[in-house]
Amino acid sequence: MEPTCGADSNRVDGPSKEYELRLYLAGHSPKSVRAVENLRRACEEHLAGRYRIELVDLLENPQLARGDEIIAVPTLVRKLPQPVRKIIGDLSDTEKLLVGLQLRSAGGPP
């Protein structure tokens, strides 16, 4: 688990919102590695300075899967802001990731 903080930057949401994200993975598979890279890049680009990422490896801590009811990996859970959102997959589609995090409406860029 390695919290990461980015620099101040915002475009879509108001400046006050802090993002608390948790990424569940299973070992160091290519999917896991891709998911971490994709998430970091997107956060730096869109949430710089107001996000925290926690990485959870289920192979090491299987009991943690029950808390957030994790079935698929990788799964990104947006703990804050409420409500909780879950994004499944290696996050390769940045558009969909942003929609999932509600950084962008489903209709496309504003």
Partner: protein, 578 residues
Amino acid sequence: MAPSIHAPGTRPAVSSGLEKAPTGIRGFDEITGGGLPRGRASLVTGGPGAGKTLFGLEFLVRGARDFDEPGVLLAFEESAEELADDVASLGFDLAGLEAGGHLVVDACRVDATEFVTTGEFDLDGLFIRLSAAVQAVGARRVVLDTIEVLFGALDNEAVVRAEFSRLLRWLKDQGLTTLITGERGREGQLTRYGIEEYVSDCVIVLDHRMHDEIATRRLRIVKYRGSRHGTNEYPFLVTDRGLMIWPITSTQLTYPVSTDRVSLGVPRLDQMLTGGVHRGSTVLITGSAGTGKTTLAASAADAACARGEPALFVSFEESPDQLVRNMRSVGIDLGRWVGAGLLRLWGQRATAFGLESHLAGIERLLDETTPGIAVLDAVGSLTHIGAQSEVTAAVAREVDMMKSRGITGILTSLTHEDQGETSSVDASSLIDTWLLLRNVESDGERNRLLFVIKSRGTAHSNQVREFILTDRGPELLDVSVGPRGVLTGSARMTQVAEERAAEAERRGELERRQLDLARRSAEVEAQIALLREQLATETAELDRLVVEQSRGEDARAAARATLARRRQGDLPRPGREA
């Protein structure tokens, strides 16, 4: 623990080489010859509310509790609390089993609205959770309820399919007996996402449909690879002790039989049945309204209590107080047996509950009171709460419950005069002794007749008897069979009186004729004597004449000789001279 068809820990005979894991679900192990295929995956599918989850939970709970096989439940639709509430009413203590390390309930609800998928993923999260749970309790059984929601929630169906298939392989490799529930799909599809393609060993379909405004649950085994199985649709019930599937007819027919005879409380009826009915057999009393079915049944219960045997009397038509009062009026005092704790009276309108709770209630009563004799009055009332076929099946189940416990069962059923002798519940083939009560109307009276229609294993009487209710209970009387047919009631009494008068008359006539004969015989004797006397007189007269004749001849011969001597003539020629 609730009694199951097979005693816990024992497995019924397996017909094939396939090893089976008993479910403990009453009736299910019977129709599958032992349960679900061990170490393989089975699918149970059905519409909403068909009882899939209950089936799965009972499989797990009984496995953990009765067969020492811990289990894991992965619930995709309900939370652990909801599941615990669902089965608490069945007497299953999920929390207790979890605390005891026999069961893991892991709820992983998948709410499609919370999800977005982007890019590649797999279901390792599920695998990790499942394997952790299996290891935690050393599970032998797994239930996935209802895994199909994953197909709907995760929009990459190809990945879900591949992962599902990998999951099944993994479960099989682990030797886990798995039950997967599925939602029935449209247009005859067994499941919404076709998962029956992956589960090839055993497929069970549950159905909950309305028929004649009555909800009925049915179970069918569509497929059971490598095993013989019943192919019928079997009605099943959700009772307060779990599911209960009942074979349409008793498949086993392995009841313990007894040669003991049990009195029905009417001495002459017992005589007609050569000493009563066999203990543990089932008696059906049919008859139209007011023929005395309930009274006859009550008399049997009374006789059982008098022997010191506990009895159960279930009435669907009268309250216990009403029954006691009514029976007292015909000299059967049920109240004292209730007071002595020998008789359990149970009154409940058949329409108050459905067939399911009805059967469950009966079974519970049988287990609680362990009676020697049980009366169900009247099973025909059940037709108000179930379609004909279901009621017949329910009655069959009741007969089965009583026989398997060695309880002598007495069922009454209403028939209608115009329907002849058919019972409204077509159970006649299931029962051992069938008594028919019939009203006969003549001379402005209704009287009752009793027939023994059949009695298995008994050289029963073929006679019709008049059945009367006295203030000392029911009694049987001979009927008068005369030129005017079978007579009962006052017609019988009239007939008897007439017969007596005719008899007296006949006796008088005979005496008169006997006297007459004696007189005639005396007359004849007298005549014979007279004739003999005459004959004797004539004989004597004749003798006298003969003597006189010979004496005359001698005299004449002497005279002739004298004369000849005087004439000195030749010797006389006697023939001419005479």
